[in-house]
Symmetry: C2
Subunit: 293 residues, 2 copies
């Protein structure tokens, strides 16, 4: 039997309207207090109600603005971490060895500082989904054709990777030369992926598939060091507990475990996307997966 | 009282998993039948379950892949359509007159063919949200900082505009020279908005605010011609009925009414975003509105 999705259809807009009412009243109170009055005036003119009155399942205030309660989820950690696409064609081998050769400098740079490594790599990992999603969006507009849900899927991947970064930011602090490096790497990688996706989406998705395989490997090593005590298994950042709906006493180990499951999903989605192109189809011809962030 | 958002927290992933189970079985059956076997093998290797087993509220099959049941909503048509940002500063005036001067060629080109006009303009309208969302996403990654929810808000605006296009595509068919024009306009506008947003997001959001004011005006004229019978008030496209949860007997007039309400929301969001910059703040300092598509 197909699953009944109706419970998801209880509209966000309706709940938002309720939130808006509450917020409107709060706004008036604030204006009365005289603080931030200018902001409130502008808010009320444009009828904009903000998200700071959202609440958690337990009724406590929702403290995040960078993601909302309905974007949270429970990671499927039962996913097979060992799946691998055997490179057979020339294009696959180019993708595979591109990723493998990028690992050497990364290993040398970070050694076993897996927290830093995770943080830095997530700044890169969030680029392909955004570039792919944007290019498919622009194509959809130009050609007056639908996307098969792939735009949303790729954009959600990008947002999920950004949430990984927001999480690891709480665990490791970037140093000044790492910040500088991120800028340089982003400019190069954004442009390379942009051009690569235009030339061969087949290759682009395959490269991401292999990058995700490497990510799974890195997070497995991170977990090993957390388990052996080489890295302190600190308390999970609050943002991670809310995003992945972890128990209140979750630790860094739990966070790395769910992040790794996310990467395995990205691996599946991207290898699958590449496979669709290998079959001579366009992504829109094969509906996008859902719930794979 | 703050609204209780808990009902939204019933996770999408869980429902997806249920959908996945159903789909998995369906996949096996299909493989047994021997048709599309190659696809099914790839699907099952990557564990990808697709969205074609989603159902509507009434239990009938969900036929769209370009949007999902939980992205549908009821438009708030009570929104004030007459709001206007009086251009005061030099920058406001530049934004205002840029938009006004773009109206002349548009009026001449389309005359009163409001269906075509709507379709063509939506291909442009879906660009700013994507560009703004992408640039904020890349900045968030580079600076290791949160977005205040603005990335999601701008991307949702872009997706909403794309749905407008998917709707009007059903009503008007683009001609070959219109298709060619879209390509040229997209290249120019994408690059102009990209650079504009980098130089002055304040100006960029103001321009979009004024574009939306013009869109409201155009849709009001479209409605007038639909009411007077100058344009046939045909049945609403099926995609529109599902996306905006319209009654089964909805007409083009209902569709234009909800689209116009969406544009009014975009107007509010973009003028508001520009106002935030005018106050010397960055968007992330003022949480993004929710539910404004
Ligand atoms: Fe990641
Ligand atoms: Fe990933
Ligand atoms: Fe629109
Ligand atoms: Fe709009």
């Amino acid at each position: 039997l197909p699953a009944v999705m109706v419970r998801l259809m209880s509209t966000a807009s309706e709940a938002n309207k309720e939130a808006a009412k509450g917020q409107g009243e709060a706004g008036k109170k604030e204006a009365a207090k005289g603080e931030g009055a200018k902001e409130v005036v502008i808010n009320s003119y444009w009828g904009i109600e903000q998200s700071n009155k959202l609440v958690r399942e337990d009724g406590t205030e929702w403290k995040w603005t960078c993601f909302r309660p309905w974007e949270t989820y429970t990671a499927d950690t039962s996913i097979d971490l060992t799946k691998h696409h055997e490179p057979k064609t020339m294009l696959d081998k180019i993708a595979y060895w591109t990723v493998k050769s990028l690992r050497f400098p990364t290993d040398i740079f970070f050694q076993r500082r897996y927290g830093c490594r995770a943080m830095m790599l997530e700044t890169v990992a969030a680029v392909p989904g955004m570039v792919g999603g944007m290019l498919l969006h622009l194509r959809s507009l130009r050609r007056f054709e639908q996307s098969g849900g792939w735009i949303r899927t790729l954009l959600e991947e990008a947002e999920n990777e950004r949430m990984h970064l927001m999480t690891f930011m709480e665990v490791a602090q970037p140093r000044w030369y790492e910040r500088a490096l991120v800028l340089a790497v982003q400019v190069v990688f954004f442009n390379a992926y942009f051009l690569g996706y235009l030339v061969s989406p087949k290759l682009a998705h395959r490269v991401v598939g292999y990058l995700e395989e490497e990510a799974i490997h890195s997070y497995t090593e991170y977990l090993r060091d957390l388990e052996s005590g080489k890295i302190a298994n600190v308390t999970a950042p609050a943002i991670a507990i809310d995003y992945w709906r972890l128990p209140a006493n979750a630790t860094l180990k739990d966070v790395v475990t769910v992040v790794r499951a996310d990467e395995a999903h990205h691996r599946d989605v991207n290898h699958f996307a590449s496979d669709i192109h290998y079959q001579g189809m366009q992504l829109k011809e094969s509906p996008a997966p859902i719930g794979y962030h």
